[in-house]
């Protein structure tokens, strides 16, 4: 008979909770991803690959083994069979683990982090299905191909939830000339985003910034004497008439959004502001096409 210690009970219940949440999240992501139809997405040029691309007349320098004799036998010329160039792309995802992402303005809405994880996973499903390699920045999940990677991604995203109030993109482990997608509310220090984006651009990384906001953050539906605190409690602001602050807050928010967007455009990234009150599908579609464009 073994003694059940409180620690082991706690760990087990946490593990079970996680185990319950993960398949649900995965199923949701799969469901979301299934709404996007994947087309043929070769590189549209000749190269290494499995799929047939074109026959071209042989010219000097082609080795005899390259000739496609079956095609050549039908005419007087010699033809070389070319295959489509297929190269797997690497996409690194960063989902803001900070506590500000835990915010939800209404009980009926999930926190922002849920939406961010869902979008990231659904995008991963699509990309993995397309044969790309997907991973998380940092050490959590190195980019790999294959469906098994999904589980690693999921674990990586849900495991390391930060303690700080606002997060900054982690660019460690970004591979040169790969793609990256950053999910965050970008309400923290914009300088850090600039720095991170600069480092990414230095390595030739292109990608997308997805700013996820709660509708309450867009509307500021508060009034009366209020003390606002950040999710971790590190920042606080007291006002006697919250309603009076609304216009100025909205101005600042617009300015922040504008700054992030300008930053993204300047470094050749794409920018999307997504609200957790909206449908995730349109955001996923946008993301998919944004990555497609960047190729």
């Amino acid at each position: 008979m073994s003694e059940t210690t409180p620690q082991s009970v706690d760990m087990r219940s946490r593990a079970e909770t996680l185990g319950e949440a993960l398949p649900a999240l995965l199923a949701q992501a799969e469901h979301l991803a299934s709404t996007v139809m994947l087309g043929e997405h070769g590189r549209r040029r000749a190269g290494m690959g499995d799929e047939f691309w074109q026959y071209r007349p042989a010219h000097a320098g082609d080795s005899a083994s390259q000739l496609d004799w079956r095609r050549s036998a039908r005419s007087d010329q010699h033809f070389v069979r070319e295959r489509e160039w297929q190269a797997a792309q690497t996409v690194s995802l960063w989902v803001d683990p900070a506590r500000s992402m835990q915010f939800s303005g209404d009980k009926s809405r999930p926190p922002k982090s849920d939406r961010a994880q869902l979008l990231a996973l659904a995008l991963s499903v699509l990309l993995l299905r397309g044969g790309e390699r997907v991973g998380l920045t940092g050490e959590a999940a190195r980019p790999r191909a294959g469906r098994a990677q999904l589980l690693h991604l999921m674990e990586g995203m849900t495991r390391d939830l930060g303690e700080q109030d606002y997060g900054a993109p982690n660019v460690a482990g970004l591979m040169s000339h790969s793609r990256a997608v950053f999910f965050s509310d970008f309400l923290g220090d914009p300088e850090e985003v600039e720095t991170a984006l600069g480092m990414a651009s230095d390595r030739g990384v292109k990608g997308a910034l997805v700013q996820i906001l709660d509708p309450a953050e867009e509307e500021f539906p508060f009034d009366g004497r209020t003390i606002f605190e950040s999710m971790g409690g590190s920042l606080r602001h007291e006002t006697l008439r919250a309603g009076d602050l609304r216009d100025r807050y909205l101005d600042r928010l617009a300015e922040r959004k504008g700054r992030i967007e300008t930053l993204a455009r300047a470094s050749g990234w794409h920018y999307l502001c997504h609200h957790s009150g909206q449908s995730a599908q349109s955001a996923l579609l946008w993301l998919y096409t944004a990555l497609e464009r960047g190729r």
Partner: protein, 922 residues
Amino acid sequence: MFMIGPLGFTAPLLLLGLIALPVLWLLLRAVPPAPIRRRFPGVALLLGLTDAEAETDKTPWWLLLLRMAALAAAIIGFAGPVLNPDQRNTAETGPLLIVMDATWADARDWPRRIDRATALVAEAGRTGRPVALVRLTEPAAEPAFQAAGALGQTMAGVTPNPWAPDFTGWAKALPAGRFSSFWLSDGVEHPGRADLLSALQSRGGVTVFESPRPVMALRPAQFEDGAIKLSASRLPATDAAEVEVSARGLDPAGIERELARVPLSFAAGAADAEIKLSLPPELRNRVSRFELAGIRSAAAVSLTDDSLKRRKVALIAGQTGAEGLQLLSPVHYLRQALEPVAELIDGSISDVVLANPDVIVLADVATLSPDEESAISDWLDKGGLLLRFAGPKLAASEVSRASEDPLMPVRLREGGRNVGGAMSWGEPKSLAPFVEGSPFYGLQIPDDVTVSAQVLAQPDPDLPQRTIAALADGTPLVTRKAVGQGQVVLFHVTANAEWSSLPLSGLFVQMLERLAVSSRPTAPDAKDLAGQVWVPQVSLDAFGVMGDAGDVAGVEGADLAAAIASVGPSAKMPPGLYAGDDRRVALNVISANTVLTAPVWPADVAREGLDVQNEQALKGLALAAALTLLLADLLAALALSGRLWGGLRKVAVVLLAFGLFAPHNAQAQAPQPGDARAIEATSEVRLGYVLTGDARVDRVSEAGLAGLGTRLTERTTIEPGAPLSVNLETDELVFFPFLYWPVTADQPAPSSAAYAKLNRYLRTGGMIMFDTRDGDMPGQTPESRRLQLLAAPLDIPPLEILPEDHVLTRSFYLLQDFPGRYTNRNVWVEAAPPDAKLAEGMPFRNLNDGVTPVVIGGNDWAAAWALDANDVPMFPVGRGYTGERQREIATRFGINLIMYVLTGNYKSDQVHVPALLERLGQ
């Protein structure tokens, strides 16, 4: 008591608390409203923003004022404010006698009088005076003074009585010692008041209380010139006023309701008003009482008795059409006697029986045709009174000679007899006194009534019982026999003065009245009522409410007559309806000659009206005001801290839960109870089946329709939802295009409301498929008999066996057989109209858009369609491959049927396709 103007305070020291208010001002002013803490990531963007106005960190002045007012209201409330505190009578000491008239006139504002008396008792209790209360309508007895507390508890049970007070008796019964009196007078003069007043004054001070409200009294209704005369009297006679008199009685269903209502206008200064109300006899005979609408007193109610009732009497004379002197007409005297008091009907016997009269008078009618005889016999069995008079024709006829005629009370001897005529011996005979037991018992016989000729009864064994009046020599003059519930009465003389002087006398009218042929035109006098005991049946209390009289001893007719005429009701003879042998007499509080006069009080008697200012405790009001202000403060505080709207939503939810919002508003918003089902039934096509009460049959119906739905979804564009059960009594039918109604042998028939619903459903294009599920049985089965019963009230058109060219045979599949589990070919649908012309071999069917409202068969289709949870057929059909083929055809029939239900005559229009194609081709 501390007084400020009309306001007194029971706890004035608490008012000192008001001094604390300014302190509160300073205190509250320093404390700003509490903030809300919110977690909000956007705070990063807020840093550095400052508030535009800084002054709101103090409570705004109006909120302060609100709170101060609330507190002040609370303090004042607890200080016990009383408006107009009652401080009268506090100077007097000694016992207090409260004298209440407690008559019918008090009933109009009885609660206020009781309130006044209760206040007096309470006041006496405060000053420790013993108190007694007497009701002058009760039998006089020496009043017992007792402690106010003991008396106060019995006050609610004190009620007035519907008769006049006994002033003289009470004047003698008063105790000797000194006491002061408070007399709650009813405002109407009654005899002996001065005696009682002087007796009271001799014991101590007297205060008289009189209500300023007028006394209204309704006199008994009288019948005059074919109309009912209603009159009312009032006291005092002031401005012009209008009251409404309502006639109440039983309607044909036996429920009491208002039969008529007529306004009665008092001219200014007039004490009396009257109006004539003309009612159809049927309605008038049903009136049981008149009342002044809205006045709660026995004086405002006048019970009606038989005097208002007019019986329908049919007069039929033997020699109709014969020329003769009017005075010789056999019915002339009857007509004279009855015309003022009854509705007379003339005509042939067969006609008048149809009018269902109360009485048929046959004056010297001898023979009746067999038809007439049976008609009269039937009418007699139902309680009619056949009154026959003898005459020359009866005497000469053979009617009731050898054997007793059913419509004659006795056998007659041939020829009759003449006495006292010119050619006979003896004197005309006079009448013997009526014996006890005769309906005429008690009537005075005038000396001048003589009989000179009569028909004679055969001496039969039961002749003495049937004789109700006889001549002095013992020969029967009037005989009576009961037939069914009715009776036959024969006067052995003529109805005119030919054979006797009886029709000329007043006795004749009285005899008719006793026989209930007529009813008395005016109030009964002592002569009418004497000799009988009258038992109260319905009694009237002082508030004018009718009740069962219970087992009260009967009263002598003479006393009753006196009470009706002048004395009025008393404790021994309460107002109400009194029943005698064959009629009822009403004793009302107000008789025809009651005069209402106001009492005149000596100048030295203190008088008081109801318009005194009652003391009114304002504590509750002040506390309510304080609470209201605090609520307003709550809202204001919420508004200031920005929590109002979120909070209001919650408050609204709570209020709704407690039903504090006006219910009709809530209902206007809330979905109706049937909405959910209506949406369920209409959001997609639903097939319905009628619940039979047999769970197994219902289950098969549901499975069958579900199976058919599956097949429809597989093969056609119709994709019905799960079938819905339909309870004909409670559910709305219009949502269903198709109802499957399996018939069981013991199914209860729907109610008439359900039938109305079904007929509406059929008329507006619904279809019901009746399935007797007995296709394998030959002949009449219990189910088909049940179906005939169930379908009888339904609006079903003529039916025919499904013809070969019917649209049902081609609406989706081409079919000629319509099997279910059984393969009976007899499936009935609406017959084609007889004038339907054949368009290329097909009759036109255009009723209900060409859809037959019913399909009737017995092939147990649902069982053939039924699939279980695994989509495997639930029941075997036939054998082997043939059986499966039959099931397939059954399914195809179901598909055809639903197609037909949903598309109507669309397929029938296909006959025009060649013509259309031809036209298109050109």
